[in-house]
């Protein structure tokens, strides 16, 4: 029952995010210059550690939708593997970035995990219908404006100036009826913190990125498609979608353009 409630809440939140994905305006030139000149650390947070499955069932006069989840908690360290992909893509933009997993020992990460989870716990409160709460203090619209000072000092001690905190509720595979191709989406929330000022400088829940999956081989189920061969499909598709955030055909939707690290150059019309 709790799972159903959680799933319904997730779907409602996804709808809300789609409807009102308020993206902070791109950073100003002086701020992007600081970001480029500074050292950044990347944290990828995957608090649910689960795949979300949706299946539309065609019943001639109606379509029903069934759902299930698969937990990979303790089986796949998605936070380490996917932080590495974000780090790689952010470095291609020209930033000096390091994954937290290459910077801190696993003992340190375990010690700081509760502080990292604090950032997520607020996202979860937000998911529970807390939009617009706590406009004073350290949070606004369910987003931390500051990070825990102990964590901040630890990151500063390591020489970092900025924190890229990226979070996702997990990959969803939506199997469609009537021969329609399946969809996958892997929603992301981005926040960039200035560690010297302990200030949120850029961030937003980005809109959902829909991707048509490669054709699922005949006779294969959704679970087999993503989970067989030591989660090969899940690892392949999460990485593929993350790379799309940085390399979309529509340049204006790329992370680098949304943050303001790259600008769209408009060519003057020929006279």
């Amino acid at each position: 029952m709790l799972k159903i409630v959680r799933l319904i809440v997730s779907l409602a939140v996804i709808t809300l995010f789609t409807a009102c994905a308020t993206i902070t305006p791109p950073l100003t030139d002086d701020k992007t210059k600081n970001l480029r000149n500074g050292k950044s650390v990347v944290i990828f947070s995957d608090p649910n550690h689960q795949i979300n499955y949706l299946e539309d069932i065609y019943m001639v006069l109606a379509v029903s939708q069934e759902a299930s989840t698969s937990s990979y908690n303790g089986i796949w360290n998605s936070e380490k593997d996917l932080a590495a992909i974000h780090t790689e893509e952010l470095s291609k933009i020209g930033l000096d970035v390091t994954s937290i997993h290459d910077s801190m020992s696993s003992t340190d990460i375990t010690e700081f995990k509760p502080l990292l989870d604090e950032l997520d716990s607020l996202s979860k409160s937000q998911s529970s219908g807390g939009f617009g709460f706590n406009k004073s203090g350290d949070t606004e619209n369910g987003v931390h404006k500051k990070i825990n000072n102990k964590l901040r000092l630890k990151l500063k001690e390591k020489g970092y100036d900025y924190l890229f905190w990226i979070s996702s509720p997990g990959l969803t595979l939506h199997l469609k009826a009537l021969g329609l191709p399946p969809w996958q989406y892997f929603n992301h929330t981005y926040r960039v913190y200035d560690l010297s000022r302990n200030e949120l400088v850029w961030g937003s829940p980005l809109g959902i990125l829909y991707t048509d999956v490669e054709k699922i081989p005949e006779g294969q189920t959704g679970k087999q498609f993503l989970e067989s061969n030591n989660l090969a499909g899940l690892k392949r598709d999460t990485k593929k979608i993350i790379r799309e955030y940085y390399n979309m055909k529509d340049k204006s939707k790329r992370i680098s353009y949304l943050i303001g690290l790259e600008k769209i150059t408009k060519t003057a019309p020929a006279n």
Binding site: L7, S64, S71, K176, A177
Partner: protein
């Protein structure tokens, strides 16, 4: 004329049914006993290779790991007279609330991943 219309309708209906039959499913297993997992012999990989990932993973105080499997999906939406359900929560929420999972299994592994206990329900014929 009538027979032409009838055959056209039947062709369309058959195609739609065929499309429905070919649809990919999530693929939850519900015949848990068929896995023949042996306590003290089978491990986490054996269970995951056969059943896929569990719906829930819980660690207990003794360091043992519990894999909880559901043999059925949850109904989360129903749309009558429409072509597709697009991530909505459904038009008949009462049906959603009445849907309980009655088929499942729990496998308990020691910290090394060896199966030390199992609880499997009988396969339900749907």
């Amino acid at each position: 004329m009538k027979s032409k219309t009838l055959s056209a309708v039947s062709i369309i209906l058959t195609s739609l049914l065929l499309i429905a039959c070919n649809a990919t499913t999530i693929g939850l297993q519900n015949d848990f006993k068929k896995g023949n997992f042996s306590i003290g012999k089978s491990d986490r990989n054996d269970v995951v290779n056969y059943l896929g990932l569990p719906q829930k993973i819980v660690n207990d105080d003794k360091g043992n790991i519990h894999y909880l499997y559901e043999g059925e999906t949850h109904l989360v939406g129903l749309c009558i007279g429409c072509g597709n359900v697009n991530g909505g929560v459904g038009l008949i929420p009462s049906l959603i609330n009445q849907h309980n999972i009655e088929n499942g299994a729990e496998y308990v592994f020691d910290p090394a991943g060896l199966l030390i206990a199992k609880f499997e329900s009988e396969k339900h014929s749907n």
